[in-house]
Assembly symmetry: C2
Homo-oligomer: 304 residues x 2
């Protein structure tokens, strides 16, 4: 049997039908409304057992700590050096991420981009040993290609740092830096002794983490267009998926369900407060999202 | 004599030579570094006697004030209704702009975009009576085309509101919304009674006005790439032009000098504090920018 020409890594069934139906329907829309927003970690590539950006920061921290053992004095950094996930959870990932990003305070954007690309070129997945580009999801790469073929603008909307993803987005996904929205470090314009301007990273961020309602507000503030397709995998993507469905015409909210421990991982995000907790697939069922079961809907998970 | 095929509205001379030389040199650069940043008001189109965005707000305010005369009670709005430029200057343009933008608090982004486009379709220049698209500068439109022909990414970096320019940027300049950076209104994600999400404008802004050093910081935060060409006309563009020149390889800082009272207007912006004031053309001479004299360098100012 020859694979279908369209989305060959998607198995036939209702999920693929929903995606193909959306693609066909979108062709009648004005091009400026063809906008698709994708979460990155756990949606376009593997986020387990740790985020790739975490691996990047851990790697940078280990190099620094060799030269400067006093870095261990900060509990956030000690927890990372020890890969003590319980301690990281207690401190809070946001606080740990801020401490890690602070390692790059004072450097220029180009130097940060070079460091991220250097890491991406040599990094291997923590348990599988594959190059990190090999941990992208092949079915999602095919979907990005089909969207681009239909003149969609692709937005990458990540809870991680904007700059790390921007450094890699063109190579990994064919998306230019200006279409990436993440958690934003604050920059400062300073002057050299001779008066020439230098732009440097600070240890602070603008607003908070790009999660939940912030994803919607930041898409509008920074990119200026409401997506008609949104894809995510966690509670932090919930508002973005709801917003993509809020309007007329063809719309699609895709939730990737990690239910494939054989080929990837099995886990699920929980939405809501401590009092009212709801697994994200229950939210999906209630709100009419299209759930992509990795085990059922994908014939193949990784490229190559 | 047939006009030159390249940039036909630019008169032969050192300025045009500098622009043509930069275009030729840029062709050897990696495409991802081909980035050009343009201020809008007074750089890509006429900003005198008032900003087009001011005209838009004034128009909206007059309609509102007919139905609700109490709007006059706010001194910022009364000054606009009276077109009392002295009072506006005393109050401060930033404060007046904030009051005007507040007229649209609570509405959804699409409604704002529709209002801006409706205004742009019927507006006429305050003294010349031309449609506002006719107040763009023909030589700059030709430059944008030549840059695009060389695969440049064009950034629009305005001190005005991001949303107003985004509503018009594709039609006026062929630039998509995500490549526009201006002063940013703050959004809020709210819920309808039935739970559906609604994104609305607030009366607040994120950070301050997009002028001076903020232009550099916001280009990096929101677009993620340093321009190698920057064009501006005022003190608020100074840091952006300095930053575009800070680096190796072909670079160009263009300062448009409004020295043509016959065809447009004659005025000049002054840089610095009250103690140390320096006309922006003096800054240009000192820092090695290319000054575009409208009177001398442009064979034609407006299209059509």
């Amino acid at each position: 049997m020859t694979p279908p020409a369209l989305l060959p890594s998607w198995r036939p069934g209702p999920t693929r039908d929903a995606v193909v139906g959306f693609l066909a329907a979108s062709e009648s829309l004005p091009v400026e409304t063809r906008v698709a927003a994708f979460d990155n970690d756990g949606t376009l590539w593997c986020e387990k057992p740790t985020y790739v950006q975490f691996d990047f920061f851990e790697d940078a921290l280990r190099r620094r700590a060799e030269a400067d053992p006093t870095l261990r004095a900060r509990p956030e950094l000690a927890a990372v050096l020890d890969l003590d996930m319980a301690a990281i959870g207690e401190l809070g990932l946001e606080r740990v991420a801020l401490a890690l990003a602070g390692l790059f305070a004072g450097i220029e954007p180009d130097a940060f981009t070079a460091a991220a690309r250097d890491f991406a070129a040599r990094a291997r997945h923590r348990t599988r040993g594959a190059p990190i580009a090999g941990m992208r999801y092949q079915p999602m790469l095919e979907l990005l290609d089909e969207l681009r073929r239909r003149d969609f603008t692709i937005q990458l909307v990540s809870g991680g740092g904007t700059e790390f993803l921007r450094a890699l987005s063109a190579d990994l996904y064919g998306v230019p830096p200006e279409s990436v929205v993440g958690t934003q470090v604050r920059y400062e314009l300073t002057r050299r002794a001779d008066g020439r301007p230098v732009l440097v990273r600070t240890a602070g961020v603008i607003g908070g983490a790009n999660e939940g309602a912030a994803k919607v507000q930041n898409i509008q503030s920074q990119l200026g267009r409401q997506p008609i397709l949104a894809a995510g995998n966690s509670a932090g993507d919930r508002e973005m998926l709801e917003w993509a469905l809020a309007g007329d015409g063809p719309r699609l909210a895709l939730l990737l369900h990690h239910d494939d421990p054989e080929r990837e991982f099995a886990y699920e995000s929980v939405s809501g407060t401590r009092k009212e907790r709801e697994p994200i697939t229950d939210v999906a069922a209630r709100l009419g999202w299209t759930v992509v079961s990795m085990a059922r809907d994908w014939a193949r998970v990784f490229p190559g």
